[in-house]
């Protein structure tokens, strides 16, 4: 990796355009400030992501336990190659390090791809769009100043699906899209926010994630098998298994025990997780939908998954081998130097201003972003004061979307577990952190806390965390 590393510029630290000069002078001022170096869009990205290598790579703000995940994989594989491979090559076959090496490379590559790829983030609505949506909502007959209705129903394959309005991104979320509060982005086909990979898992990186966990289960099973074989062979030639365990080549007496322990717990948890996701892939479901029970018929009769192709093979192919959608956020595109105008195919989102206004939660968002650019304020009749959709805007991520419950429960578990927040006895075996991966991802029906959302969009409450337990 090159040494170029850029942090996201905090939009709030950007120079505030002073209200005194008339808006059209702002352009000149900006042009004078940065006459030659146009900025890229990632530098004003409103979500909580970090960008490296000039926008080529992105991660969530909280990288979670990604370093730990990488570390565990590298250390376990390292121990395997150093201590077990020589013995097994001598006594069995030299394919073993080859297979192990191939799996290891596969695992690391897919892990990095899962972590560093845009999961399918939807860019936020431009102020014009937001105003237009607002106008349409108002036009449906709300004469008073009540907050606009926040859901819209569409019929998808004869199934009624409710689309929620996202107050952070100022748009109606497409189906299967959820807002991740950890990353502060709407993500398409949102599956979950995975702290192990330090990123959301969504439409664009789900296949990487799936390949990662499947190859990781093969790798851990393989290492476990090899280590067991190694010990068995030593035990045969020596004085028994216990002696073989105690004796170790080199100066490190417990490397075998360490490997065994890590692999043993990992195998069960990762295999379980792979199995769960295989089921999701085969039924074209996301973790989010599965946990909320959106299509399982709990919320009514005749509720089926409208996205499923009704054929396991086609479902698998469409999820894993379908066309790779492009990244919608255009991280490396340039912002125009003329920031105030949206015209002619310039494809501009109001850069710093819009980003700032989106972060400044409040009723004046739209007005701020509308007031400064001259053409918009004078020419767009949609920019009415009543577009200030009041207080709901002040708590966007919490009220308006289901997923933060999921993502916070996954992510918060990471931070809260040390406070004994979630903690039930199922965490008894926490010797391997990888086991936690399973507890984060797999709901256990036996705990069966009724998640019963009041609306299809209400996320699993913190109670639902009780439903995450290891598969037995």
């Amino acid at each position: 990796m090159t040494s170029c590393e850029y942090q996201q510029i905090d939009p709030q630290a950007l120079p505030t355009p002073t209200p005194a000069p008339p808006p059209h002078h702002g352009n000149d001022r900006d042009k004078r400030e940065e006459p030659k170096r146009p900025r890229r869009k990632w530098q004003v990205f409103p979500g909580k992501n970090r960008f490296y290598c000039d926008g080529r790579i992105m991660v969530a703000r909280q990288s979670g336990v990604l370093p730990l995940t990488l570390g565990l994989i590298v250390i376990t594989s390292g121990l395997f190659f150093i201590f077990d491979c020589p013995f097994l090559v001598k006594h069995l076959t030299s394919c073993i390090p080859v297979i192990g090496g191939g799996l290891f490379v596969f695992v690391v590559i897919t892990l990095l791809q899962t972590s560093l790829t845009d999961p399918g983030i939807l860019p936020r609505a431009t102020p014009d769009e937001a105003a237009d949506i607002e106008k349409q909502i108002d036009n449906t007959g709300n004469a008073s100043y009540r907050p606009p209705p926040r859901t819209k129903e569409v019929l998808i394959n004869q199934q009624v699906v409710k689309l929620k309005y996202c107050f952070s991104c100022k748009m109606f979320r497409p189906p299967r899209t959820s807002h991740c509060s950890l990353c502060d982005n709407c993500v398409e086909r949102f599956d979950h926010h995975c702290p192990w990979v330090g990123n959301c898992v969504g439409k664009r990186n789900y296949r990487f994630f799936y390949t990662f966990i499947v190859s990781l289960s093969f790798l851990t099973a393989f290492i476990f098998g090899c280590v067991t074989t190694h010990l068995a062979l030593r035990a045969q030639g020596g004085k028994g298994l216990v002696f073989a365990l105690q004796e170790s080549p080199g100066r490190y007496p417990f490397n075998h025990k360490l490997e065994l322990v890590i692999c043993f717990f990992s195998v069960w948890s990762i295999l379980g997780l792979s199995g769960f996701h295989t089921y999701l892939v085969a039924s074209n479901l996301t973790t989010n939908e599965d946990i909320k029970g959106s299509w399982s018929g709990k919320s009514g009769e005749g509720v089926t998954n409208p996205y499923s192709h009704k054929n396991i093979f086609i479902n698998c192919c469409s999820v894993l081998c379908g066309p790779m959608p492009p990244s919608l956020i255009d991280r490396r595109g340039f912002l125009p130097t003329d920031e105030s105008v949206q015209t002619a195919g310039a494809g501009i989102e109001l850069p710093a201003l819009a980003a700032k206004s989106e972060i400044n939660v409040g009723t004046k968002d739209l007005l701020e972003s509308a007031a400064l650019p001259p053409l918009l304020s004078t020419s767009c009749p949609q920019m009415k004061p009543q577009t200030a959709y009041t207080c709901p805007d002040s708590s966007p991520a919490v009220n308006s979307d289901p997923s933060p419950q999921l993502s916070t429960s996954c992510g918060a578990r990471h931070t809260a577990s040390s406070q004994g927040d979630a903690p039930p006895p199922r965490h008894a075996k926490t010797r391997s952190k990888k086991r936690k991966l399973e507890t984060l991802h797999i709901p256990n029906p036996s705990f069966d806390v009724p998640v019963s959302p009041t609306s299809p969009d209400a996320g699993p409450s913190s109670k639902a965390r009780g439903s995450f337990t290891p598969l037995r």
Binding site: E129, P326, P336, V341, A344, G347, C380
Partner: protein, 140 residues
């Protein structure tokens, strides 16, 4: 497609009178399709049929990009076998179609919409959420 305009250019260009947004049509699921309903604001500017034809062509192009066919499966399987590293060097089918779409929109703008004081914005620049139609003030 990003164009930058200096302030001088802006003053010479017609002012934006309004913007119309063609929203997505989700009746077929999450595939990218846009509503073909003709917006009333454009009634004075362009033929309903012409506009609907443009949108329908765009819909067809997007459907082709997301089509589950043998080509996409082969691409997907090959990518999986190489741990998806081929995405780093190869342009995907979807990206190729997006280029075609960009060309088509450019062409439509040049031939049909610009003479009528309208401008279509490529939906990819709006995150595939809307087709933004900018209506310029009629100077005639």
């Amino acid at each position: 497609m990003a164009e930058t305009h200096s302030l001088q250019d802006m003053r010479q260009q017609p002012a934006v009178a309004a913007k119309v947004f063609i929203q997505r049509d989700y009746t077929k699921g999450t595939v990218c399709q846009f509503q073909t309903k003709f917006p009333s604001e454009l009634e004075t500017r362009i033929d309903k049929q012409q506009f609907e034809e443009t949108v329908q062509t765009l819909n067809n192009l997007y459907a082709e990009a997301e089509k589950l066919g043998s080509q996409s499966y082969i691409e997907g399987c090959l990518a999986c076998l190489t741990a998806y590293t081929i995405f780093l060097c190869m342009e995907t089918h979807y990206e190729k179609v997006l280029k075609n779409i960009a060309k088509y929109i450019q062409e439509q703008n040049d031939k049909i919409y610009a003479p009528r004081g309208l401008l279509l914005t490529d939906p990819i620049e709006r995150g595939l959420r809307v087709i933004e139609v900018t209506i310029f003030e009629d100077r005639s």
